[in-house]
Symmetry: C2
Subunit: 266 residues, 2 copies
């Protein structure tokens, strides 16, 4: 994450505020849509309840996701505005580590947005970026947004698609096309989280570097070993675990009711 903000490092919410500033700055560059800001806020709330940490079950999902990307013949990383604004460097690193292609895919395909995102990815070292302009010439059925527009060389032909910060409609459509769908979603109750093959319930800013390092680590394994990792993973268990952790945190706090006093500190 680039710094260059005016938030004091000592502010208890400094990291969270820096991420917000990075996203709002990228509204001006056309990379982030206004609806993306609202979606980010939803994620913040779930992250707060989760305790703003990568849980053990999220780490297992990350390992399994890295293995699934390495096993795929045609893996594709689907890039939207928020993830490009926050993790362009890690996306390029993950593409290199896993042999995946990068494809811009947007809910709101406003004029110039796809090329602004392409530029961010190229600045971060990407050599090829699919799904920009007329390249997104294929259509996926049953998706009621610009997310239906995909690149025939990318998502359309992919056997595994990494969809950080996805919407439920497309997650479902991609699963129906028999693709392995790997999502990053802080809301374990969302349709995306529920319908993906592997759901990483974590903040994308924390998960991406871990996913890169896992892909680099697992690259040395044999196909059989990668398959064992993927088949040992249960998305149902991972989602249950995330909900249980959130529930436990709320339970602890609710026993107190008021835990911030006027003259005290958090």
């Amino acid at each position: 994450m680039t710094r260059g903000t005016h938030v004091s490092d000592r502010h208890p919410r400094a990291e969270s505020i820096r991420i917000r500033e990075r996203l709002t700055k990228h509204v001006e560059t056309g990379v982030v849509a206004l609806a993306g800001l609202i979606a980010h806020g939803r994620g913040e709330a779930f992250d707060y309840i989760l305790g703003e940490r990568t849980t053990s079950s999220a780490m297992r999902a990350i390992t399994s996701a890295a293995a699934a990307l390495l096993l795929a013949r045609r893996p594709v990383l689907s890039v939207n505005g928020n993830v490009a604004a926050l993790c362009a460097k890690e996306l390029v690193e993950l593409a290199e580590a896993s042999g995946a292609k990068l494809e811009v895919n947007l809910f709101h395909r406003l004029p110039g947005r796809d090329s602004a995102i392409e530029e961010l990815l190229r600045d971060a070292g990407a050599e090829e970026v699919l799904g920009v302009g007329d390249a997104a010439s294929a259509r996926i059925d049953e998706v009621n947004s610009d997310r239906r527009r995909v690149d025939p060389r990318g998502i359309l032909a992919a056997d595994a698609v990494f969809v950080p910060l996805e919407d439920g409609d497309r997650a479902e459509a991609l699963r129906r096309m028999d693709k392995t769908v790997i999502a990053v979603d802080l809301n374990p109750l969302s349709r995306t989280a529920q319908l993906a093959s592997i759901t990483i319930v974590d903040n994308v800013v924390r998960a991406m570097p871990l996913l890169v390092s896992e892909a680099e680590r697992l690259r040395a394994l044999r196909v059989e070993e990668l398959r064992t990792i993927v088949s040992a993973f249960s998305n149902r268990d991972a989602l249950s675990d995330a909900m249980r952790l959130m529930e436990e945190r709320l339970h602890t706090l609710s026993e107190k009711g008021v835990y911030i006093e006027l003259h005290g500190r958090e």
Copy 2:
């Protein structure tokens, strides 16, 4: 809520999407700040966990808030961009029903934003709007945003301040000034929710009409009766109850883990 959107009424999230569209539309008019969109997303997530309904304990908080506003000698309704965009009409009605003044108070006081909000309130029938331009000439200590700028005829002199969608800094500062602070906040864990005298844990769009009708109903009561209502209310219990309901909802869902199947519906 004004309609005029392209969302089908049959969409399961239609109301939620209409509210989002109303807020993003008001980014263009200058009423809503980009940070306000992120804050709205956080509220959406908590509302979703709460079940998107006004709970019984929120209703008790609303009744108590109406009584507290009626009891106050100088009640003020603090208006920010989000609440103006979503509830201008209800704010004017609540001011009339409770005898409160309306004051614009903003975290980000961008040029023209206060007068854009004033215009929304005047269009909704407000005759007097405090806190606009040079009228916000007084300062509150210990508040690290433009929220410190208040009107000496309004929030500075008020004994009760209604602060829907507030930030923790100012909620704390107002309490330290011995004012009754009435907040609307879907996050029972927030500093605002924790530090307010009365916290309504509800969506402001649902809570405002109820607050208006309670203020109108309770207007007929004697001061003693209003005092009894306020003193019977425990904010600690209300916050505990909200957290317990959220926890229970997560618990029910976590037992299932995956509750949306690929070929089923929510």
